[in-house]
C-alpha cells in the first residue's frame, strides 16, 4: 500500500496554478428564526491561495457547514464578500465542487451515471464525456465498478465515487464538508491518502472541514481554528511541511496537540468538568 502510494504520487514542483484563489472579506451571516436574527458567522476574513489545501476545525455548531455552503453558492444570503479569482459568488457554479459527509449519490443511478450526471450542464461533447467519466473513476481507484449501484459500494467506495463526481467538472475549488466523518478509522486513513494523492496531481484549491484534528494537520497547508457563537476565526496554524507527509512525524503530533488544546482549553477553564477528582489539566499536558 505504501509502495503503491509512493509510485502513484508525482513529484510535481510546487508551482501555483493560475486560478482557484478564494478571498473572503468581512463575511457575516445571520439565520432568521422567527423574528430573531441568529448570528452564525461574524466578520470572517480569509485569503486562500490558488492550489492551497486549507483545513477548518472548530466546535460543532460554529458555522463550518454554513461557511462552506456560502462558498459553494448554495446559500447566497450573506453580508461581506466571497470572491473566487476576483468574481463575487452569487450562486452555484461548476467552478466550485462540494462533497458532503453523506455521499449523496443517487441510488437509482449506477456509479458511471452518477459521475456523468455532473457533466450534463457542460459543453463537453457526448463521446468525450464517457472517457472523462472513466478517467475520474480510475482516479479514485474504482475502475471495474462503473455499473455498480451505490448500495453495492462500501462506505469508503461511495465516498470516493462522490469525490470522482465532484472532480469530473475539474472545479478550481473543491469544498469538502466532513467528507470522511462517516467512515471507520482504517477506511478514513486510506481515503485521506487518496485525497492527498488527488490533490497533488490536480493542484486545485481544496477547503476541507473536519472534526479530526489529526486529519486536518496531515492534509492541510493551513488549519483554520474556529470559535462558536458567533462563528469566527480564532487562530490560523501554518503547517509548513512538504507533502506527502509522514503521519507519524513528531512535528505533526505536536501541532495536533497544540490545536486540540486550543479547541478544548478554554472550555476546561470556564466550565469545570464534573469529575470527582479535578486534574490539573494544563500541568499534565506541559
Amino acid at each position: 500500500m505504501t509502495l503503491h502510494t509512493r509510485i502513484d504520487t508525482p513529484h510535481v514542483p510546487i508551482d501555483t496554478p493560475a486560478n482557484g484563489a478564494l478571498t473572503i472579506a468581512n463575511l457575516s451571516k445571520d439565520f432568521r428564526i422567527g423574528r430573531e436574527a441568529l448570528p452564525v458567522l461574524d466578520r470572517i476574513d480569509l485569503d486562500i491561495r490558488a492550489g492551497e489545501f486549507v483545513s477548518i476545525v472548530g466546535p460543532s455548531g460554529c458555522g463550518k457547514s454554513t461557511l462552506v455552503r456560502l462558498i459553494a453558492g448554495l446559500d447566497t444570503d450573506y453580508a461581506g464578500e466571497i470572491r473566487l479569482d476576483g468574481k463575487r459568488i452569487a450562486g452555484t457554479s461548476l467552478d466550485r465542487g462540494l462533497i458532503f459527509q453523506d455521499h449523496r449519490l443517487f441510488p437509482w443511478l449506477t456509479l458511471e451515471e452518477n459521475v456523468g450526471l455532473a457533466l450534463l450542464n457542460t459543453d463537453i461533447p457526448k463521446p468525450q464525456r464517457a472517457r472523462i467519466v472513466a478517467e475520474h473513476i480510475a482516479l479514485v481507484n474504482l475502475t471495474g465498478f462503473e455499473q455498480a449501484y451505490p448500495h453495492q459500494l462500501s462506505g469508503g467506495m461511495a465516498q470516493r465515487a462522490a469525490i470522482a463526481r465532484a472532480l469530473v467538472t475539474e472545479p478550481k475549488l473543491l469544498l469538502l464538508d466532513e467528507p470522511l466523518g462517516a467512515l471507520d478509522a482504517l477506511t478514513r486513513v486510506h481515503v485521506q491518502r487518496e485525497l492527498q494523492r488527488i490533490w497533488l496531481t490536480q493542484r486545485s484549491t481544496m477547503v476541507m472541514v473536519t472534526h479530526d484534528v489529526e486529519e486536518a494537520v496531515f492534509l492541510g497547508d493551513r488549519v483554520i481554528v474556529m470559535d462558536a457563537k458567533p462563528g469566527r476565526i480564532r487562530r490560523i496554524v501554518d503547517i509548513d511541511l512538504p507533502h506527502p507527509r509522514d503521519r507519524s512525524s513528531p512535528i505533526l503530533h505536536r501541532l495536533r496537540d497544540e490545536i486540540l488544546a486550543e479547541l478544548t482549553g478554554p472550555q476546561v477553564d470556564s466550565q469545570a468538568p464534573e469529575n470527582l477528582v479535578h486534574l490539573p489539566v494544563r500541568e499534565v499536558r506541559a
Binding site: L94, R104, F106, W108, N121, H151
Partner: protein
C-alpha cells in the same frame, strides 16, 4: 421455493376441506352452505358458456377507464400540491377532509347526478383511485430529500434531466404504491357498485345469483373478485419491484 408455496397454499386447502366437511355434515341447509366442489362446478360452467367472461370483461373495462381517469387526475393534483405552495394552501385542507369520507358514501349523490349507467361506475372508480394516488404523489414528491435538490443545484442539472433522472425516479416508488392501492380500492368499490345497481358485471352476476337463491353463483363471484383483486395487487407489486431494483437486491 416449493416449501414456501406449500406453506402458502396449505391454509387455503385446510379451509376448503373444512368447508366441504361442514356442508357434508348437513348442519346447515345445503342451499345456504354450498360445498366448494359445487362452486367449482358452477365456476367451470359459467366460464364455459361465456357468461363469466362477459361479466368479467365488463367489470374490467370499467375498472381500466375509471383507474386511468382517477390516476391521471390524482397524479397531476398530488404533484401540483407538492410543488406549489399556493396550490397546497388552497386545496390541501379540502383534500385532507374529503379523503376521510368513505368512497361508498358518495354513491347516493353520484347516482342522483349521473344515474346508474356506465358513466356512474367509471366515476365512482375514478374517485376511489384519485384519493390514494393524489396522496401518495403529494407525499412522494414532498418527501424527496432536500439533499438531492442541492446536488442538482451544485451541478446545475438542466430542467429536463432534472425531472427524468432525479425527480421521477425519486418519486416513483411511493407513487407506485399509491397506484396499487388505488387500483385495488377501485376494484373493491366497483364490485360494490355493481351489487347495488348494474345490469352487468361481476357484482351484478352475484346479485342476480342472490335473488335466485343461487348461492353457488354468489360464491363463484366472491372467488373471482377476490382472485382479480389479488392478481391486480400482485402485478403492480411486480412493477414496483422492477422499479426498485437499485434498492437492496
Amino acid at each position: 421455493m416449493i416449501r414456501r408455496f406449500a406453506q402458502g397454499i396449505a391454509p387455503l386447502l385446510a379451509l376448503l376441506l373444512a368447508w366441504q366437511l361442514a356442508s357434508a355434515s348437513g348442519v346447515f341447509p345445503a342451499q345456504v352452505l354450498v360445498p366448494p366442489s359445487e362452486v367449482a362446478a358452477t365456476l367451470a360452467r359459467l366460464w364455459q358458456d361465456g357468461e363469466l367472461g362477459d361479466h368479467l370483461g365488463t367489470s374490467l373495462f370499467r375498472l381500466v377507464f375509471g383507474f386511468l381517469t382517477g390516476a391521471a387526475i390524482g397524479l397531476a393534483f398530488g404533484a401540483a400540491m407538492a410543488l406549489s405552495k399556493l396550490f397546497e394552501t388552497l386545496f390541501a385542507p379540502v383534500f385532507q377532509a374529503v379523503r376521510q369520507v368513505p368512497v361508498l358514501a358518495f354513491i347516493p349523490m353520484l347516482v342522483l347526478l349521473l344515474g346508474i349507467e356506465e358513466r356512474f361506475k367509471i366515476v365512482v372508480v375514478a374517485v376511489a383511485v384519485f384519493f390514494p394516488v393524489a396522496l401518495a404523489t403529494f407525499d412522494g414528491v414532498k418527501g424527496i430529500p432536500k439533499a438531492w435538490f442541492e446536488v442538482a443545484r451544485l451541478y446545475r442539472t438542466p430542467p429536463l434531466p432534472f425531472i427524468t433522472r432525479i425527480l421521477l425516479p425519486a418519486a416513483v416508488p411511493p407513487v407506485l404504491t399509491g397506484l396499487r392501492l388505488g387500483l385495488t380500492r377501485g376494484w373493491l368499490v366497483l364490485v360494490a357498485c355493481e351489487l347495488l345497481a348494474a345490469d352487468s358485471g361481476i357484482g351484478q352476476m352475484m346479485e342476480m345469483g342472490r335473488q335466485m337463491f343461487r348461492i353457488d353463483v354468489v360464491l363463484a363471484g366472491v372467488f373471482v373478485s377476490g382472485l382479480v383483486g389479488f392478481g391486480l395487487d400482485r402485478s403492480v407489486k411486480l412493477v414496483e419491484r422492477r422499479f426498485a431494483r437499485w434498492k437492496e437486491a
